[in-house]
Symmetry: D2
Amino acid sequence: MIIPFHITEMMRRLRDRYTKIGLAQQMERRDTKFRTLRPVRNATPRSIAAYWTRLGGDPTPIADPETIRQAATYSPNIENFIGTVKVPVGVIGPLRINGLNASGDYHVPLATTEAALVASYGRGAYAASKAGGISTAVLYEGVIRTPAFVFDKLITAGLFVEWVVENVERLKSAAEATTRHGTLVSIEPILDNNVVFLICRYRTGDASGQNMVTIATHALCEEIAAQCDVLIDRWYIEGNFSGDKKASALGLLTGRGRKVSASVTLSGDVVAKCLGTTVDAMLDYGRVANLGSLLSGQMGAQAHYANGLAALYIATGQDAACVAESAVGFTRMERRGEDLFCSVTMPNILVGSVGGGTGLPSQSAGLGIMGLQGTGHGPALAEVTAALCLCGEISIVAAIAAGDFTNAHEKLARHR
Amino acid sequence: MIIPFHITEMMRRLRDRYTKIGLAQQMERRDTKFRTLRPVRNATPRSIAAYWTRLGGDPTPIADPETIRQAATYSPNIENFIGTVKVPVGVIGPLRINGLNASGDYHVPLATTEAALVASYGRGAYAASKAGGISTAVLYEGVIRTPAFVFDKLITAGLFVEWVVENVERLKSAAEATTRHGTLVSIEPILDNNVVFLICRYRTGDASGQNMVTIATHALCEEIAAQCDVLIDRWYIEGNFSGDKKASALGLLTGRGRKVSASVTLSGDVVAKCLGTTVDAMLDYGRVANLGSLLSGQMGAQAHYANGLAALYIATGQDAACVAESAVGFTRMERRGEDLFCSVTMPNILVGSVGGGTGLPSQSAGLGIMGLQGTGHGPALAEVTAALCLCGEISIVAAIAAGDFTNAHEKLARHR
Amino acid sequence: MIIPFHITEMMRRLRDRYTKIGLAQQMERRDTKFRTLRPVRNATPRSIAAYWTRLGGDPTPIADPETIRQAATYSPNIENFIGTVKVPVGVIGPLRINGLNASGDYHVPLATTEAALVASYGRGAYAASKAGGISTAVLYEGVIRTPAFVFDKLITAGLFVEWVVENVERLKSAAEATTRHGTLVSIEPILDNNVVFLICRYRTGDASGQNMVTIATHALCEEIAAQCDVLIDRWYIEGNFSGDKKASALGLLTGRGRKVSASVTLSGDVVAKCLGTTVDAMLDYGRVANLGSLLSGQMGAQAHYANGLAALYIATGQDAACVAESAVGFTRMERRGEDLFCSVTMPNILVGSVGGGTGLPSQSAGLGIMGLQGTGHGPALAEVTAALCLCGEISIVAAIAAGDFTNAHEKLARHR
Amino acid sequence: MIIPFHITEMMRRLRDRYTKIGLAQQMERRDTKFRTLRPVRNATPRSIAAYWTRLGGDPTPIADPETIRQAATYSPNIENFIGTVKVPVGVIGPLRINGLNASGDYHVPLATTEAALVASYGRGAYAASKAGGISTAVLYEGVIRTPAFVFDKLITAGLFVEWVVENVERLKSAAEATTRHGTLVSIEPILDNNVVFLICRYRTGDASGQNMVTIATHALCEEIAAQCDVLIDRWYIEGNFSGDKKASALGLLTGRGRKVSASVTLSGDVVAKCLGTTVDAMLDYGRVANLGSLLSGQMGAQAHYANGLAALYIATGQDAACVAESAVGFTRMERRGEDLFCSVTMPNILVGSVGGGTGLPSQSAGLGIMGLQGTGHGPALAEVTAALCLCGEISIVAAIAAGDFTNAHEKLARHR
């Protein structure tokens, strides 16, 4: 049979289920009336109650009294507020970091519902700290927005680029007038015939800066629209080019957010005692893992950055959707004499110590555990993020190399 | 100057900061002693208190009384438990779905700290529901694990594949003996000279199934190790090939988790009234967005699946790290007469109505809002996920096409 | 200046050049009359002469007497024939191959105009042969075509897939009726909402088979169009999905054409004597090269397959455009005790010992040098191709590791 | 059966063939003696004859008298010269181009052994010329080399980058001292922890410039090695980062070689009369083709650039291996009122009107047909290349949209 089995099987199961009722009918549009929820921007105990009346069920797990009391606190971060979901937090550390920006021994809060994650990262942190800590550096920073401008033809697009080049200082002023902390550091035009994308790259201070760059770029575009004497057909604030909220080759190559590198060299002794395996075993697996990454068409090569990223982003009020773009980069493991050099280089870390959800009560407390809450801590937070991911890489590579991976998951997820 | 400005600038800033203290010294390993946190698997009020004594600061935002009281409930999902982070939840709907598995009008809870997200998805849901609802179908399901086997040479690897082919029923039995709900639906060997990856694909019932497939595949590998007469150098439960927790071409092509398609056709009237723009404006932008996606090297082409995914995954106890692999797929918009056909096809949706964090109090309540808690709802939940993402795509494309995108963000994030 | 220098520089140069004449005018359409060349399918000395009268210049280098005499021989492979371009051929070898299909010591003809290429491949072949030869195996074969079928909606697309599954034997018959040597080995449907791609995979005997699979798939589609009771909006013989003539993740993952692996283990002695470097130096560079490949977003990881492929494809009458899809794969180098294990695995080798340009006089002689001309040699030719590419990888890695790369190119391209 | 059929089938066929003889033995190394070919750099009639004595067979098709006579002419371009392979050439045109650099009506020689290729490109050229010609522009130029420098750790790598920034003018001088025509236009450092890649980008005048940039970059690296006071562990002339001879995201994004855009707007009438289809039919197929490209993980989205590229590169003495990197880019088709706008943007065109194989007799004559031989024609040649590829895209999209694709191939490949 030349049709793959899983497809014939799927068809059979579907057919079994739908011989009687009409499949087609089930998927038809339905025009019966419905009553949409009333949008609420400024949540109050009352608006919350009104939603729950409509939703039914027991509101308590989500709309607990303390949450209801703090409705106004949450309100700037969300619409149609009905309460909070409680994500369990575990802590690891101290994680020793010797970085350009982060320096010291950090306890790191991780929010997750996946058993074994905290234990695994904790183990990696222990090994890395025992080895003298992780060196880190922000190599580069720059959040990008890429507005798109459409023209009638290529030649007009070219004249537009010339105008932008000549008026770049004016555009920089317009963009920077919208923000106290943002700086426009480069504009790079990319042409596809009559369409021009402008890669606008910003430094964003201590904030993650996604909104900041949107607003600044909007002002930049408005300035262009008002002043440019080249006829623009239409323009868009984002040409879906920046890699916002998604893995992209652009992000991989030039970075979006902060590009951070973190490394540590583990002695054979640390590998044996803290990780229960050997340098050779880890290197052997590392080569296979690298091959798997290449053969399956991943971007970069790494094991599970997303686990550490999601857990830290949620625990500290970062934008969890950015895990999609941040979970890209390169993990390297190499022999250095009898020791194991390990590094991660992550080009798209999007974190802030201010802005976004960082000021909400529990998220702010999460940052507080690391001493990285508020102004002045953005770069350090980015370095902690990379160091954390390195711990996760070390731990999972050791676990798979040693054959422990499944057992750890079975044991820790035991009660479910 | 032929060095890009952002690099010279970065160097200058660094040099300004570090002329006096030694950069190198700052990044050196430090071998002072440290005291690691004691790992805790079974959290108690006492273990939580002990952690906070160590961490310092006010524990209340994270370790509130209700959370402490439920320590045992959270414990199977986390190690080193210190409390919960409270992520605000907004609700949208009703979202009308006419699907193979999901059928009805759903209220959907979204957990996020990003202003404008809930409003934007809500707007899309309203438009889609006004248009008669979204048709959805799970096209395919299969979570994969890809163990790797290493041999001395190619010929041995070939003999191993032959053994696997001949013993496939035995392997299937071994794998399925570990699970009540999982079914092994295919094994596909991929060779790179002396290394063999086995793509083991499973149906996982109502669960997301990541742990299930790990355990089943481990058993399969143990069976191979015990029975196979071809000399295996070493094997690994995962060859970093499956795309677990990361965007990959494999996932894009063959799917990992559930592959779901969702579509709706919006009349020009709905586009005008609910979205404030026109079919042509949306199509015009769609072409540019598609170009941006291609030019910047994204996988698939879509605007911001990650936003809806992260918000729904967190609100319902899914594995938020899987956003990295789920946020991949194809959004299409096409003219149909005077109407606008819109679809998303998402090959890697990893959700479950049971297992993982779905049984925790607030997460379970989150599923309850949709009526999709517990056994029997996995496929429907996957379809709701895709429908939700379609709403987000419709809304953002309309906003950017109409020039509203920045304003919406400025207004809704106003208080910060 | 925040605009990259190369862009401002480009603009300046353009402006210098075009201040006087009108840039816009230069790029305007021109509707003056022109006389198109008369198409010629069956070339004759007379038709060749007629073309040259029109083209002007000295025809001799292209339209030499022998070429003109053989016009009818060339005619089935080309339209509007005006002569031949003479590509210089160098020979390397013997290259020892111990393969599943290729077995023996091969002299390999390489057609190129790039100095140093033949010398470099020759050096690699010498080292590999000294080491006992290269083991090779065709792991897999299958040229694909992927027709696309468009429907009104998802549900209809689903019903179509069901029809295909139920009628697969009939479709196989229809496809195979068009060919003596082709076999349809799988049909895999891929859905994106209302669009269905059918990945039709064929074995093509000794031919490369691109035309064979087009014709067979056309017949398959015609059979569907004639028999299927599901309403098809429209269909296309190729949905631009197969990866024909381009690098693609699909090709990387599942192969298109023949997937071949080749490996050899070089002793430290061979590395030193034949390649002038050491095992460690090659491994050290190999790691950096692998990193470069990943960081710059290549498909797979290899150094310069394209050089060997293009040279062999041209010398033996293969389709040189297929270099675009064939030049993808994985080169591995690993320490084995004191030795160096080297392998290539290439999933998309498209070669034939019959068909295409293989029967032309000099191309046929090219195949003849290897003893691989005509029926029965397709798989062996594929293995020689992979072995050749392995030689190139070994040689270039050694050259760059040893610092010889530039010198070799300078010396060999000396006269130009 | 959960193992895919094509795999079980492959195994069965292999087993059938190898029951008797030992598979393992067949693939073992063989250490019998062999006599390697003596390398020859300066070919003579005698050296050619010596090779053929060794190779056996009739030398005439490859070593024809004229080729033997010109041995010294071919010698700088090849080692171990044994003759020439004759690749048939067809001509199309006139192709009208209204470009920044190319301007006029061009006859274009195409060397290929694939029937239908010349006819198809000729048809596209006719349609484009009828529509007033193709507008073209070189948007950007820059061939890159990316040497890699390895250090003991991140901090040292950082100090190295600082040194490069401070000494950039000295490095530029060192690089440019090696070449009359090359200019170093940018150096961009990319760090991965302790490894630094320097993206060195050059303008290369009329040459393709691959050797030029290698030599210039080698000098730049030697200057660094001699002068830099930061301790370099080791360095490599190419870190496998530049995308030389392979498709890469870097090339897609920033270009390698010349980035050229070409466009034409076809009236409905031209589409009907020259291409036998309609604007709508082409747009309908274009959307499906674009989807196929995305779904199968291609870089960019286009139909078959490689066909035109390979044929033109071979006919004009370009490096045919560069087809692997050049065959990447974006084809767009959009409705403009009743007309069809078509464009290609190709970021990696590597062609020269001087250097490489362009001075060989028939290749030089190939360039001569277009009037683009020798100094001053590099940019124009790049624009002709892009225009040619646009013709191919128009023709194949029309053929597939109209359902003619298979017939054309069947008819034209009829004699074989």
